[in-house]
């Protein structure tokens, strides 16, 4: 419930608001929504740490950051889903507290969530008007009017669909437009859009931008969360960067260099390249076999993957570079058979994987260490031993009877080898530290003796010491001939751990960094740019070392000039160290 000092929730019109108090000068537009020193912690994590954010009437404000940066938490704090632990929210200059989403909505803050949050079985019109249906004089819902209004509203968005249709009969993009229609049809002063374009077709994106322009003209403030650089630069006025729950930067997006923005998101300075400095990866590359153990061609899945192809050789660590939402995790999942594909093929040792299933991939020798350790990996209530042997049980048993002696042997080997710190193999995994949990998971997959190990954020959320150990272990495994695919938001870890880096953008492979080009600058450039940074031959042995610019071979795609000298990026050439 709202405490007595909080203002009532009907928002004052933007004109009545106090002048903007944020740092940016020379802005006449009043501040509609402000967060001051907002903090929010969840068990074990500080999701938001003293974050301030201000939103002016009629601006489109980009909110960017990598996974775990705190964007979603900030949005949820602004929209009444979470209550912040500290700090205050000001709506048109008056302090407010939202106990639940309905209060934020009543105050004129309307939100489109990343996953469509509508009711699938109900009709389009009912979804748009849920909770505020037009009534006739008997107090009953006036369906003809509701359908007409819904059709008119959607028509304005370029969507022609029968509003009586159930929502789940529509495509996901159209559903998103319905969510948008709902959000803007209320009298909102602030519209929050959390990755609104992630499931839209290009044509629908254009419609969305038109709607946003219209909102801007009507002095409605928009918070726009997206990972797509092109969109941010096209539609947004200002940008706020969050990282690790902290506020990093707020300012106009126009004059901000793309490389600079990406480096702020990732927390890496452009000039700050210390190859083989801080991580525990070995400094020399691995002996890579010529014949790939895993070949993926043309992996595609609607809205997530668009023509991803890669080869993985025994004995190498292949990095998968890309910003959040570029299809990194989806690629790993697809390779491990955990994501149904629309097209594409995965071959292991030349033999195609048939139907996509996790069991099939595991049999073929592919193991995936998932991104979300808690949700998709460990079973906290089981012991270290039980967690390790879980996936290997079929191999350790005969006629369904599990041999305890063989289990103990395997568990003993891996606990020693991975230096898992537990009081005994019977300790519950839930009691271990994050790093040791991760090692237990790694042990689970290693005791299957895989040929290919896919690691999705293997060191996220674990302490420095354990991180170094896991990194050293990855190195060791590759030296022993395992093919490793490494995904990491930590750009330093990615660059220093990988022999090659395949760069993904918008669900497709856009380039590959090989040899000398496996550097932070080149990767930052590749992530920030629309153009393909480099197109090398897939075999690292063929790479010409000491190439002055990442682009070894200009492509025929017509983007050659941009490749030769990426506009925002003089760094790679400067940092190059020709041998």
């Amino acid at each position: 419930m709202a405490p007595p000092e909080a203002a009532p929730f009907e928002a004052a019109p933007p004109e009545a608001a106090t002048p903007a108090t944020s740092g940016a000068p020379s802005s006449a537009a009043p501040t509609v929504l402000e967060a001051h020193g907002v903090g929010k912690r969840f068990p074990g994590v500080v999701a938001l740490d003293d974050v301030s954010f201000s939103l002016r009437a009629g601006e489109v404000h980009a909110l960017v950051g990598e996974n775990g940066a705190g964007k979603s938490t900030l949005i949820k704090a602004l929209t009444g889903v979470h209550r912040p632990d500290s700090g205050e929210l000001l709506l048109s200059g008056r302090p407010v507290r939202f106990a639940r989403p309905s209060e934020a909505q009543a105050a004129g803050i309307s939100t489109i969530y990343q996953e469509v949050n509508l009711v699938p079985l109900m009709s389009v019109a009912r979804n748009i008007f849920l909770g505020r249906e037009p009534r006739n004089r008997f107090g009953l819902i006036d369906f003809p009017r509701m359908h007409a209004e819904a059709a008119a509203l959607l028509g304005g968005f370029g969507v022609t669909v029968d509003p009586r249709r159930p929502l789940d009969s529509l495509g996901i993009g159209t559903q998103q437009m319905v969510a948008l229609a709902r959000a803007v049809s209320v009298e909102a002063h602030v519209v929050v859009m959390d990755e609104p374009t992630s499931s839209l077709e290009p044509r629908e994106v254009e419609t969305l931008f038109r709607i946003i322009d219209d909102l801007r003209r009507r002095d409605i403030a928009v918070v726009y969360v997206s990972h797509r650089m092109d969109e941010l630069y096209r539609i947004c006025d200002r940008v706020t960067v969050l990282r690790d729950g902290r506020h990093i930067h707020t300012g106009p997006i126009g004059g901000l260099d793309r490389m600079r923005l990406v480096s702020m998101m990732l927390g890496r300075e452009i000039s700050e390249v210390r190859r083989h400095g801080m991580t525990s990866f070995g400094s020399e590359g691995h002996d890579v076999a010529r014949k790939p153990v895993l070949t993926a061609t043309g992996l595609a899945r609607r809205h997530q993957l668009d023509d991803v192809s890669l080869e993985l050789h025994p004995g190498e660590v292949l990095g998968l570079g890309g910003l959040l939402g570029s299809g990194r995790s989806e690629t790993a999942k697809a390779l491990a058979g955990a994501l149904a594909l629309d097209a594409g093929q995965v071959r292991v040792d030349g033999a195609p994987l048939g139907r996509f299933s996790s069991a099939g991939a595991i049999r073929a020798g592919i193991s995936l260490l998932p991104e979300d350790r808690k949700a998709e990996g460990i079973v906290p209530g089981l012991s270290v031993r039980e967690n390790i042997v879980l996936a290997a049980l079929p191999r350790l048993s005969r006629l369904g009877i599990v041999s305890r002696a063989r289990q103990d042997r395997v568990v003993d080997i891996f606990m020693k080898r991975l230096r898992i710190k537990a009081s005994s193999p019977e300790q519950k995994v839930g009691e271990l530290s994050g790093g040791n949990q991760q090692k237990v998971l790694l042990a689970r997959w290693l005791c299957l003796e895989p040929k290919v190990l896919l690691l999705d954020e293997p060191t996220r959320g674990i302490d420095v010491g354990a991180k170094a150990e896991v990194q050293a272990l990855i190195d060791e495994l590759a030296q022993e001939g395992l093919a490793v695919l490494l995904i990491s938001s930590d750009i330093e870890e990615l660059v220093e751990g990988s022999d090659r880096i395949v760069v993904l953008r918008s669900g497709g492979t856009v380039g590959e960094l090989v040899g000398e080009n496996v550097s932070e600058d080149a990767l930052l450039a590749a992530l920030a740019d629309h153009t393909t940074p480099t197109q090398d031959s897939p075999n690292p042995a063929d790479t010409t070392t000491g190439a002055p610019v990442p682009a070894a071979e200009p492509s025929a795609a017509g983007s050659a000039p941009a490749q030769a000298s990426p506009p925002a990026d003089p760094a790679p050439a400067a940092e190059e160290d020709p041998r």
Binding site: V81, N117, V119, L121, M122, L130, V159, R164, P166, T174
Partner: protein
Amino acid sequence: MNPTPSLTAPATGVKGSAPGGTAGSDRPASGLSAAERVLSLVQRQGVLAVLLLVVVIASFAYPTFAGLDNARGVLIQASFLAIVALGMTLVIITGGIDLSVGSVFALGGVLAAWASQWGLLPALLVPLVVCGAIGTLNGLLIARAGMAPFIVTLASLLGARGLLLAFTDEGATTYLVPKGSAFAELGQGSIGGFGHPILVALVLLGIGGLVLQRTSFGQTLFAVGGSGDAATLMGLPVARAKVTVYLLSGLLAGFAGALNAARLSSGVTIIGTGMELDAIAAVVIGGTLLVGGAGSISGTLWGVLLLAVIQNLINQIGSLNSSYQSVVSGGFLILVVVAQRYVSRSRRTL
């Protein structure tokens, strides 16, 4: 007894028409395609078709079945379950379940018979207050404390049955409704040959249908059952809606029990056992999804009638042991759920 082919007949018709509808539905601009309309109709009114078919076949096979007297008997029998199933429909649409209605039905009957010595109003108010309180308690535990509906209402099933036994000295005391009282008339009287309970049930179902389809409250119930998270994020009063449906379910079950006591002139203690399962079966046969989010009062009415007709028919076939009624009802339940899955999958792939 051949309802099986009758139920699958519309389903196979659907299969044939599905490919024809595909082309039309590719364009978002198009309205509902013919195939979608058929599927939607089957989903909503398929049970009605089955019911009519069973009735027509039975009328030819057993002339006594078609008689007006028999029809009145079937309807009276169905009216109490219909009132209970009305509340159950609302609960199930929100994705919940109410197992307590059978016990609450019996408790309402005994309380009404006991209170009828002071007149019509106490005979109605006492069961409504007590049963409404039980329903509210169910709702609060489910919506506010976040407990599982199955567990909460299982507990109140046991609790209400226990209260009933305590109140009647373990069933030794039977409270009688005074002969010729207004309360007895409510249960036993009739208008145009149709007993009061039938008319009361129809009125309640009519109001229920209107509330469900034509009010914000009804829409909220669908949203809560269809996607609770979405409903919360849309700012709908989710908890209030949940408490309200359990309250309504308790009130309706208690009221149906009181009506039944008026009809039987006494508060029968052994009644209502397993009634919750009949109500759930009727609701599901009527096309309401057990997971919530979709359903209708009219479907529930047809489901209740179908169960009543089956029971009546088996009684008509003198040679058949009446125990087989449950077997046939169970068979229908399975068929309907299979058909629902089939239809909803066809709709999705259209």
